[in-house]
């Protein structure tokens, strides 16, 4: 993680003081409800179904063990002893008291953390590849660039009141592990023919009620011009983005309504006037930021550990976990480990304070005191010696974080849904739990192979259902909860080299009419059976089959040949009878 200098610390401290003043004025009746709402949202504070919800920023998903212990402390002292890791690499607390929030922020500031711009119509937490710095296919360390953008966007005076929220993701490797094409701006590091570093700039992607795969606005932006280009794009958006309708206010709608060529021309024209100005990045600044990320003191180790080889041969359970949850590392003898927060029966992404403390201990013991939060809502220890994987696995099992399901069907991305969120139309956590229970046979799960299943409790798509290989959306019909199912979505290829048919990002297609909650596991099972019967080998994934044969056979498997057509016509007949 980036270590603050004295200036960075003062920036956060002064914000705590400012927010304390705003809260006090509100509690004293000197600040109206509407205005306070706008101001508190800029500090991640929502008023939710049962209580306020505080979203704390985990910039680009990196945490030190000390910071994680502070998050545990906050869960214990101010909340109900747990927190929820979100798909935007942040953590949310569902039960804080409004009047205590300034104290929470003051506690966070002691470990260089904050809730700045975790909500509101401003630039939000920058998300990054969770294997940044360790991936074998790395081009640049995405965290350095995220931090540069974080500083640029923090309290940006011009872009703090945008038409709508603004999400930027930075991918530093060949594979796309941040879903670059479904962000307001996705930056994908590239090296040109001269070996110079730059970014491919994708603008106007997004999920929500209008899912769009973002177009490439610039193929190669030399890194020096990153901030001036962002200023140009944000200025065009701030001036021209729609403000008449919040559902049409994201930059994706502006790009779509303006037309890509015209939009690009506007950004480039604005950029031409900003280019080479004072915001042009320098080698010195990039090196300064880089140097504030502590260097990991790797040992010189053999590429393959002999002890690990023996353990893998002798222990099937360990081998399964290793196959799913351990990722290759760019330094010989090391590996990156994903601790799964997707154990059956536990709400996706939730962790208790005791679990957080235990993971902090694991990070200290096995991974240089640092960890990451992934947008798939898991925790990652990125720098583990291969020789210590077995010991780490046993300890992870003891705290329930060793479910060997990374990349598999039960590694479900899921929003908090109707159990907590005021926006939700339907619950999502019980749906995830029911699917996990149905697919609790590990051998079967591994046989099915890689499959992203994502669930959102409403059209806002916090659970990224549009880019799940299978996506489930909770909908409300006459005050009843129904679930629409999409297939064929893809967040981008996250594991290049291991995949036969690399597919780009894709939005899923809706199968047909929605299902009752109780029927969802059956429907998923039918989709899986349909896939298994049609795949040409174990190597062909669910998503590959959908893209090869289309969704019709899957529709038939779910609705039956007769009703597939009726379902496609958008009939909302509620009485689903999935044949037994």
């Amino acid at each position: 993680m980036y270590i603050y200098d004295e200036i960075d610390q003062r920036v956060v401290d002064q914000r705590v003081a400012q927010f304390r003043g705003q809260t006090e004025r509100f509690l004293a009746g000197k600040l109206g409800e509407d205005e306070f709402r706008q101001l508190r949202l800029r500090n991640g504070l929502y008023v939710q179904r049962y209580a306020p919800m505080l979203r704390v920023a985990i910039p680009y998903g990196i945490l030190s063990s000390k910071q994680l212990r502070m998050l545990a402390h906050i869960a214990r002292k101010y909340d109900r002893d747990y927190g929820h890791f979100s798909t935007r690499q942040n953590i949310q607390y569902n039960w804080p008291k409004l009047e205590e929030v300034p104290d929470i922020l003051a506690d966070l500031a002691t470990v260089q953390m904050h809730a700045i711009q975790t909500s509101g119509n401003c630039v939000r937490n920058i998300t990054a590849d969770h294997f940044g710095g360790v991936a074998q296919d790395e081009i640049v360390d995405s965290f350095v660039w995220c931090e540069i953008i974080r500083q640029w966007s923090t309290f940006h005076p011009e872009f703090n009141w945008l038409p709508r929220k603004f999400k930027i993701a930075v991918n530093g490797a060949t594979s796309d592990r941040v879903a670059t094409h479904v962000h307001d701006i996705g930056l994908h590091a590239v090296k040109n023919e001269q070996g110079e570093i730059g970014f491919r700039v994708v603008i106007g992607g997004g999920l929500g009620r209008t899912p769009i795969i973002g177009p490439v606005v610039r193929e190669f932006l030399p890194w020096q011009h990153l901030l001036t280009y962002l200023e140009a794009a944000l200025r065009v958006y701030n001036r021209n983005g729609r403000r008449d309708n919040p559902y049409k206010a994201r930059i994706k709608i502006l790009v779509k309504e303006t037309g890509l060529e015209t939009f690009r021309a506007k950004v480039e024209a604005e950029w031409a006037l900003l280019k080479d100005g004072p915001n042009t990045l320098t080698d010195a600044e990039v090196q300064r930021v880089e140097a504030r990320f502590p260097k990991v003191a790797y040992l010189s180790l053999p590429a393959a550990d002999a002890g690990l080889k023996r353990q893998l041969e002798s222990d099937t359970a360990f081998r399964n976990w290793h196959q799913r949850n351990v990722q290759a590392h760019k330094v010989p003898g090391y590996a990156a480990v994903t601790l799964s927060l997707k154990k059956t029966g536990v709400p996706t992404g939730d962790a208790t304070s005791a679990q957080m403390d235990a993971v902090a201990d694991l990070a200290d013991q096995y991974s240089f005191g640092e960890l990451r939060v992934s947008h798939e809502q898991n925790l990652i220890l990125a720098d583990v010696r291969q020789s210590e994987l077995f010991a780490l696995w046993e300890k992870a099992k003891a705290i329930g974080f060793a479910t060997p399901n990374i990349g598999l069907l039960t590694n479900i991305i899921c929003c908090p849904g109707g159990d907590f969120c005021a926006l939700a139309n339907a619950k999502s956590i019980p749906v995830a739990a029911a699917i996990q229970e149905r697919f609790d046979d590990l051998d079967y799960l591994h046989d099915i192979g890689e499959l992203d299943l994502n669930i959102s409790g409403c059209i806002n798509a916090c659970g990224h259902h549009h880019v799940g290989h299978i996506g489930i959306l909770g909908v409300d019909k006459n005050s009843e909860e129904w679930y629409q199912i999409e297939i064929g979505g893809n967040q981008g290829e996250t594991r290049q080299g291991q995949i036969r048919n690399p597919l780009g990002a894709a939005i899923g297609k809706v199968l047909g009419r929605a299902f009752a909650r109780a029927d969802v596991p059956d429907v998923i099972e039918r989709l899986i059976e349909c896939y298994l019967a049609r795949r040409d080998s174990d190597a062909e994934r669910f998503i590959d089959v959908v893209h090869r044969i289309g969704i019709e056979p899957f529709k038939e498997s779910v609705y039956g040949a007769q009703s597939a057509k009726a379902a496609a016509s958008g009939s909302t007949a509620p009485a689903l009878s999935v044949p037994a």
Partner: protein, 172 residues
């Protein structure tokens, strides 16, 4: 009118003129501006009546609504004593870009005034974008709003009040 100029409570010599809303198919009409007194007129009125307005004894300033871009007044900016920018709604940030462009691109040096939803907790950002005068919403407290200008004294980005980003000053 509660007014802050250059971080101080001030009395206002300017009168703000608004267009008369059009009914049905009728064109927007403008309020007649008296010969004496300083007047801030809508951009469209300025464009239509520039010579007459300049022939008055009082000074003339122009206000831009949030959808009206800086480029529309750029040609006259250097000769105007005052430009006002409207913030029609709490949370509408369009005029922030206009302010920066007037200062940074078009070299405007005169008084740049925020009108409309000018609220205590918004003035700091406006100030950093080059606005130096604030016609506060009626319910706002002048002294308390001046204090808001002192919050968050440290900022990372380049802006009108600090043309170099922090990283260039840090390096120095």
């Amino acid at each position: 009118m509660k007014l802050i100029q250059n971080r101080r409570a001030a009395t206002d010599s300017w009168q703000l003129f608004k267009p008369v809303p059009a009914e049905g198919e009728a064109e927007v009409t403008f309020t007649a501006v008296p010969a004496e007194g300083d007047a801030i007129v809508p951009l469209a009125q300025w464009q239509q009546q520039k010579d007459a307005l300049l022939a008055r004894q009082g000074r003339t300033g122009v206000w831009l609504d949030a959808h009206e871009g800086a480029d529309l007044i750029a040609a006259d900016a250097l000769s105007l004593p005052l430009i006002a920018l409207n913030f029609p709604k709490f949370g509408d940030g369009r005029s922030l870009s206009t302010a920066r462009l007037l200062r940074e691109r078009y070299g405007y040096q005169g008084e740049l005034r925020a009108i409309g939803e000018v609220f205590r907790d918004l003035v700091l950002g406006m100030h950093r974008c080059g606005i130096d005068s604030f016609a506060l919403r009626d319910d706002q407290d002048v002294d308390d709003t001046i204090k808001a200008l002192e919050e968050l004294p440290l900022a990372y980005q380049a802006s009108v009040d600090q043309p170099l980003p922090l990283f260039r000053r840090r390096a120095g």
